[in-house]
């Protein structure tokens, strides 16, 4: 069976697309991650134009973040004040990201930029995760206690001006820090089609020094707003949001995620992290090979 995607303007096999959504949903349920950083490269490997993959992924992340965000709202584990600054920074990052995206579509460099950014992004994150998990697998629990990070904000954070009180997070810091963090995440969301929880959660824990209880809820709050803004901006300026593709991915994704969560609880956290790191590095290597090997055709024809 074939289904013609209205925006990507290409026929796809809907079962393959749903399976892709389910596979990434399974992994994201199992590892507790968003999955955008896996879905976008997978869509590119399948042949979806990279620009459409990124734009569409933004809208899919909106959908897949809803249930988590609602749960955290109900449990009141969202720091709205912090979230507001993160969203503000994210909105600016998203606008700039979409404008850069538009410029690169015009010059024909967008596909390269997406692939290169992914290689950098995935190799950094995959490398760090692998390092962390190897360390924690080698060290005994007692030693881990010793190595445990001291929860203290870096000194430059305290030096930033306009410090204010964040009651839900019990912090007294400058809003410039969450705005800057939100900005980076907004750039990533609009240029790579990722939620950015990957970067935001560790940064909130170890840089902003937010309490663990509000970190996930607040990051989901930011992700849902920023990916929604990014979706509208991509649709408005680049016409790269394929809602048919997004819904296909989503229908596979929700089922996959449910199964993934069930499998994930049976595995050890260290093992999970090592597995995820290997997966991330694998995707990264595949992208790098795609960039470095001589292309199948030495000419690209736009418009065919």
């Amino acid at each position: 069976m074939q289904l013609y995607l209205p925006i990507a303007e290409m026929p796809v096999d809907p079962f393959v697309v749903i399976t892709m959504g389910a596979a990434v949903g399974f992994l994201s349920g199992m590892f507790g991650v968003g999955g955008g950083f896996l879905m976008t490269p997978l869509l590119i490997f399948y042949g979806i134009p990279p620009a459409v993959a990124v734009g569409t992924e933004a809208s899919q992340i909106v959908a897949s973040s809803v249930s988590g965000a609602l749960a955290h709202l109900k449990r009141k584990t969202v720091d709205f004040q912090m979230g507001g600054f993160l969203v503000a920074g994210g909105a600016v990052g998203s606008v700039i990201g979409v404008l850069v995206f538009r410029m690169l579509i015009k010059t024909g460099q967008i596909d390269t930029l997406i692939s290169v950014s992914y290689v950098i992004f995935l190799s950094l994150i995959g490398g760090l995760m692998l390092w962390e998990s190897i360390r924690s697998l080698l060290h005994s629990p007692e030693e881990k206690q010793k190595h445990a990070r001291k929860r203290r904000s870096p000194t430059w954070l305290a030096a930033l001006p306009f410090a204010m009180r964040f009651r839900a997070s019990a912090l007294y810091i400058s809003p410039i820090a969450p705005i800057a963090l939100g900005f980076i995440v907004g750039l990533l969301a609009s240029m790579l089609g990722v939620g950015g929880g990957f970067i935001m959660v560790p940064a909130m824990l170890y840089i902003l020094n937010m309490p663990t209880s509000v970190v996930v809820g607040t990051s989901l709050f930011q992700i849902i707003f920023v990916t929604a803004i990014t979706t509208v901006l991509h649709a408005a300026t680049n016409q790269t949001v394929d809602i048919a593709l997004a819904l296909l991915l989503l229908s596979g994704g929700v089922v996959g995620a449910q199964l993934g969560v069930r499998v994930g609880v049976r595995l050890k956290a260290e093992h999970l992290r090592a597995l995820l790191a290997l997966l991330v590095l694998g995707v990264c290597a595949r992208l790098l090979i795609g960039l470095a090997l001589p292309p199948p055709s030495f000419f690209i024809v736009d418009g065919l």
Binding site: V66, S67, L250, V301
Partner: protein
Amino acid sequence: MKNILLALILMITPASAANIEVALTNDRVEVDTGFAGASLTLFGAVTGLDNPASVDIVSVIQGPQTQFKVRQMEKNNLIWTPGPAHLIDSAPGLYLTYSTREIDDIAPLPVQDRYRLDADYLDIVVATHAPADENNAGLYRSAFLSEAEDLGLYRSHIGGIEFKKGALFTITAGLPANTPVGEYEVAVYLFRDGELIGSDVAALAVNRVGLERRIYDFAHQRPVSYGIFCVALSLLAGWAASVAFRK
């Protein structure tokens, strides 16, 4: 279908000169969400000949005229990146030919050139990015042609033309799944001993229809509303999924 055949039979009047006429069973091809290519049937009649099956027929289906950009991949240190764009102002997005025999056996090269019976004869002009590249214009042109052939958009077929009763014939053309939407021209040429003795054209439109069209139009005509619609639908779908899986 019967009516068309009847109409064609009525068309065949004992004219003095040989000629060819063509009609489409359907002059509108609809591309919807399930579009996986279409089969197009052309009905035609050869008139004014005693033995119609002794002649050759060439059919050319081409359209819509579109702008293209050709980029050459360049090695940049480790990776391959696309180079500057060279513009092709106008070329058909689809070009299919059907012929009773090898075209070279049907008509001499100058005649093939005059009626553009092969993609090689199409007026595809490449405006190079920099004047220095002008010598490579032919390279970009052939790159365009081979890419179009690889995608199944430019193709020549031998066969597909079937003579029915007497002067009547049908041409069965296959439009690929990636057929671009737009206006097409379907031409038939009648050859005898390498000489063109008749021709006819018909128009064909390939349109988007159904949900596929609505989504496409919505996204391109009211992009902001479409973006908001996508977000709303995503929120709704995400919420529905969370309700469905709640225990």
